[in-house]
């Protein structure tokens, strides 16, 4: 079954077939304007998320165990023959940022940039969006590097178009990221997403520096002017109407326009039918 009309959305909302999150996060400070920053380990509602498993085990945010804790999760509806959809996203922040909500799929911890060479970062199987189309690979800083700015690239990954054994483009971290800062890894020419990652190469080492590798699917990005609410209707305004799968683990990341840590509040609403 799926939602087939706007009236059906109204009826479903009015009947309580909903799943809404009024979230907030107390963020940490980013390196600089322009950089993306994760709220995964920041306190708030939901509470902070756990560190993912290391290479070889990793973490699949598939709803089993406690892995999804820290994400915005939803009651299962597929077993009742329903689909769930995102219908509106509203937020405010104490700093001007671009706020993104994404589905956190898998993650592997322990990428260190203190030495050059191939680093095993094997990811587990995608729990959703299994074709890999649109799935992005990001690093999430857990220990800030010092010294030289690291340069890395995807040394071996499976692409949604090109298949196994792909090599991605080079990523200069652009400075010395702070804990929570995120950077997206370039793909090989022709690829449109990532199914799995095997290794990442550190081309230029820094001193210290550790990162999680996160595979994710973007849901929505919204610009926020400091203290002023902004909102997007995902039905009538941008007609995205994204399906939110049963085991989804929605999380927040934001692009900085300065170096001050924002506090973020907002609402993500869903309907199912």
């Amino acid at each position: 079954m799926a939602i087939a009309s706007y009236d059906q959305i109204i009826a479903a909302r009015a009947a309580g077939q909903i799943g809404d999150w009024d979230f907030f996060k107390v963020s940490t400070a980013p390196l600089a304007a322009g950089i993306w920053h994760s709220d995964w380990t920041d306190v708030g509602m939901p509470g902070s998320g756990n560190a993912p498993g290391a290479a070889g085990s990793g973490t699949s945010y598939d709803g089993s165990g406690t892995d999804n804790n820290g994400g915005m999760t939803f009651a299962s509806v597929a077993g009742s023959g329903f689909n769930r959809y995102g219908i509106s996203f509203e937020a405010t922040s104490t700093q001007t940022i671009n706020l993104r909500i994404y589905d956190r799929l898998v993650a592997t911890s322990g990428l260190v940039t203190s030495g050059t060479g191939s680093k095993t970062m094997t990811t587990v199987t995608l729990p959703r969006f299994t074709s890999g189309v649109g799935v992005q690979a990001w690093i999430e800083c857990t220990t800030a590097p010092t010294g030289t700015t690291p340069v890395i690239h995807l040394l071996s990954y499976t692409g949604s178009v090109n298949g196994a054994g792909q090599v991605g483009g080079s990523l200069n971290l652009g400075g010395l990221p702070k804990v929570g800062d995120m950077l997206q890894l370039p793909l090989a020419s022709g690829d449109t997403g990532v199914v799995a990652v095997s290794t990442i190469n550190v081309d230029t080492a820094g001193t210290g520096g550790a990162y999680n590798l996160v595979l994710m699917k973007q849901i929505l990005t919204i610009p926020l002017t400091a203290n002023v609410l902004n909102q997007r209707d995902l039905v009538q305004q941008i007609a995205g109407f994204p399906q939110i799968f049963d085991t989804a683990c929605l999380a927040l990341m934001w692009q900085a326009t300065g170096t001050t840590a924002p506090n973020i509040w907002g609402t993500f609403r869903t309907v199912y039918g």
Binding site: V26, N69, Q231, D233, W265
Partner: protein, 280 residues
């Protein structure tokens, strides 16, 4: 009743049955550049809400002074019993003309007064049972300042609370007051939930912990449920249709005690508001 079934059905409840209640009013604000304030203690229409009881506090069920109401039913919207009431639109006017902000319409559920923020201590609150949203899902805990802070910005955390998935005796991380001089009416919060947990709300709070105490400062602990959000214009009138503009259509339960949380105005000019509700 299953509630509103379509946009035409909603329109029909208003045009054919007259099942609509509208609340209009205004509330004074304080300047709050980068932190939230509560309109509960603000003067205006409705009048300022009262100070809640000390532990276990006050569980709010309208009619109660301070709750947003329609003109014919002071203290809240009239009960609709077996029918269901929904928020259909929310409109705000503001004319400071400098900087805009954010407004959150909330249902005030439980509050406990007399929490001193002037010593590093664990404070027992033992909040009363939630009168609505009893599962606790989506319920947030805020501190509402009743005596202004001075000298230091205290940090407050949930020391022991019960969440919406059955965990009790769990704690959350601290939230620090935005400034050391928060005025009465300002808010600290929401207080963060337990890290690594799978909950999305609060059923009750047993104790909170205070560190880095202020020299002066007293607060209410308030459990509330956000209902709808709207941007606050720098100058002018803004409206948000809750049906086809934000696809929300939140239910307003009988006994709801509605007021606003406001972030960001750079002046103390009052806001004017209009809430439209429809029921079936």
């Amino acid at each position: 009743m299953s509630g509103i079934s379509s946009l035409a059905d909603l329109q029909n409840q208003i045009s054919a049955n007259g099942y609509e209640d509208i609340a209009v009013g205004y509330k004074a604000l304080i300047t709050s550049a980068s932190f939230f304030q509560s309109t509960w203690p603000s003067t205006g229409s409705p009048a300022a809400g009262g100070v809640p009881a000390t532990t276990p506090g006050t569980a709010y069920t309208s009619p109660v002074v301070g709750a947003i109401a329609n003109p014919t039913n002071a203290g809240g919207f009239p009960n609709v019993s077996t029918k269901k009431r929904y928020l259909s639109s929310l409109s705000i006017e503001y004319n400071i003309g400098v900087v805009g902000g954010t407004i959150i319409l909330v249902d005030r559920l439980v509050a406990v007064s007399g929490i001193a923020l002037t010593s590093a201590a664990t404070v027992t609150v033992n909040t009363a049972a939630l009168p609505r949203y009893t599962s606790g899902t989506g319920i947030q805990a805020w501190l509402e300042i009743t005596t202004a802070l001075s000298v230091a910005a205290p940090a407050v955390n949930l020391q022991s609370y019960t969440d919406d998935v059955g965990n009790s005796g769990i704690s959350g991380s601290a939230m620090v007051a935005a400034t050391a001089t928060l005025a009465a009416g300002s808010l600290i919060g929401p207080l963060p939930l337990h890290g690594g947990g799978n909950s999305g709300g609060i059923v009750s709070v047993q104790t909170i912990a205070i560190s880095n105490p202020a020299t002066t400062g007293i607060a209410n602990l308030v459990l509330l449920k956000p209902i709808a959000n709207i941007s606050l214009p720098a100058e002018g009138w803004v409206e948000r249709d809750q049906v086809d503009q934000s696809t929300n259509l939140p239910q307003i339960f009988d006994g709801a005690c509605l007021h606003f949380l406001v972030l960001g105005p750079s002046g103390a000019t009052p806001i004017q508001y209009q809430l439209r509700t429809v029921y079936k």
